[in-house]
Amino acid sequence: MKLLETSGLTKRFGGLTVIDNLDFGIEEGEVKGLIGPNGAGKSTFFNLVTGVLLPSAGKIKYDNRDITRSKPHQVAKMGIGRTFQMNPLFGDFTVLENVKAAFHLRPHSSLFDIYFNSKVYRDNEKQIAESAEEILAFLGLINVRNELAKNLSHGYQKILGVARALATRPKLLMLDEPLGGLNPEEIDFFIKAISNLRDQGITILIVEHNMQVLDILNSVSVISFGQKIFEGTPGDMRQNSTVAETYFGGVI
């Protein structure tokens, strides 16, 4: 079953068509790559799906619901977690505070519970503290949990972005260039973490220029100027001459 599906998705900025009549789908449980040259429209696609931008035309379906005009916080509530390419953070919060703050949806405490410090709220916060530590341990951030997010290295900040997205308990996790700024060890560690998440049943969409991710992808879509030019397995993509020409300038 398709978890996410777009049909005829189009986004224009003035006269510039950035996403052009795009049909894109991702199967439940798979790890899919979305790749393409700079300016192909990958981040714009993320922003359309998560409600940051409104499409000019077309439809977006997620989990059998039409989310074409949904707002970002509604999309998050439905189970789409994401990171950003420029990776903004709650810089004045510590790493742990970043992740704890991200437990906004689940478990849920009403405003009344929160303000009057009810038992429900206290229990939820206890659970959040534990889950946050688990996520940090899983992603190797536990030793920096009391550092301010803005003081972290670039690589750690990237991973913190993923930790935050995981705290929303997503069904679909969308990562925009998660490997940018990571050193080789961090990349190996991170790629293992991704396949681990897949084993836990999370569907994952990755935008990435680093071809090391190909190893863990089930399928790939390649876009160029907002149009899909390839769809298939990573193995087939390596053989594909159009992809090789537009994306890699003929060298793979």
Partner: protein
């Protein structure tokens, strides 16, 4: 071990509040002078105003309409008390709720605006509210609203009522800030896009902060109306809103106690040196510059600054020691 550390930390947090509260409690014992009691009531009235302004500021928005929301609470309560003869308990609550509801309704169209744009919108809103009050008949127009029945006849009763009101309001706002609600607001202020991506509705939380802060603005306005018995729009214009912002920023906008300290100091200083009160705006401007250049965290940030200096010295000493070896 960690527990006692937490306790120590909490104690250190309470001490400044305890000192300020104690000072306010014993003021009447030192001066039976009605004038000075009035000054201290005026401080408490504005303190609730600037602390509640900071509650709104937590969401990342700077509002220039706060003085006007205080005016709305004051006028609504004043009219209910004077023309309809409502008891003080009802008028106080009604004034607070009125400011809260109007702030949310008028804030709704601008809730998508951020930063400077929100500031501009709130500025026009604040000025428009004052014009409306001046244009209406029930408010007494530009002549002002006179002869509001007062809550207490004794200045001491008024004084201690304000002490209790201030403690209650500050506790209520403190709870707001240090619960998950405040954390969510601070997250929103740091990055609206990240906050939305974790499921925070920017509009809802911004209106929540606005409504909550304006409730206390209305409440303090209403209380002051029942104490002063006369209202004039000249006391509530844009200048008033800017003063409240000044108290918050000079006191330190990143700390709850910032506007508390800011209000006390910047209402007291011109009062103590009556002879130079004409220079008060210049002194405030100078203080603003000093804070902006020397203590970015405001007055409430000084202890942190000192602590950081000390730590830095320690680290430097250590590294020097390391070289010597």
């Amino acid at each position: 071990m960690e527990n006692t550390l937490d306790k120590k930390k909490n104690l250190r947090k309470i001490i400044p509040y305890a000192i300020i509260l104690l000072a306010f409690l014993i003021v009447p014992a030192f001066t039976g002078n009605i004038y000075w009691l009035g000054v201290f009531i005026f401080i408490m009235y504005q303190m609730i105003g600037s602390v509640s302004l900071r509650t709104i500021f937590l969401s990342g928005n700077i509002s220039f309409a706060h003085g006007s929301f205080i005016a709305m609470g004051a006028y609504f309560a004043g009219i209910l008390a004077k023309d309809l003869g409502f008891p003080p308990g009802v008028t106080l609550l009604a004034g607070a709720l009125f400011a809260c509801v109007i702030s949310v309704i008028t804030g709704f169209p601008f809730v998508r605006l951020r930063g400077l744009y929100y500031g501009m919108a709130s500025l026009f809103m604040g000025v428009a509210i004052i014009y409306v009050i001046q244009a209406l008949k029930v408010t007494g127009g530009s002549r002002g609203l006179l002869d509001i029945p007062s809550m207490f006849s004794s200045i001491y009763a008024n004084y201690y009522f304000f002490v209790i009101l201030t403690v209650v309001c500050l506790l209520a706002m403190y709870r707001f800030e240090f619960s998950r609600i405040g954390i969510t607001l601070r997250a929103l202020a740091q990055s609206p896009e990240v906050a939305s991506s974790i499921g925070v509705s920017e509009s809802f939380y911004k209106l929540l902060a606005l409504g909550f802060g304006s409730f206390f603005a209305g409440l303090t306005g209403a209380a002051f109306a029942l104490y002063s018995t006369v209202l004039s729009t000249t006391n509530y214009g844009l200048t008033f809103s800017i003063w409240l912002l000044m108290y918050m920023m000079i006191g330190g906008d990143s700390k709850f106690i910032g506007p508390v300290i800011g209000t006390v100091i910047f209402v007291l200083i011109p009062e103590i040196g009556r002879s130079f009160s004409a220079y008060a705006p210049y002194l405030t401007a100078a203080a603003m510059l000093v804070v902006a250049y020397l203590i970015p965290g405001g007055l409430a940030g000084i202890p942190d600054l000192i602590r950081r200096r000390k730590r830095k010295n320690k680290v430097e000493n250590l590294s020097e020691g390391g070289q010597a070896i």
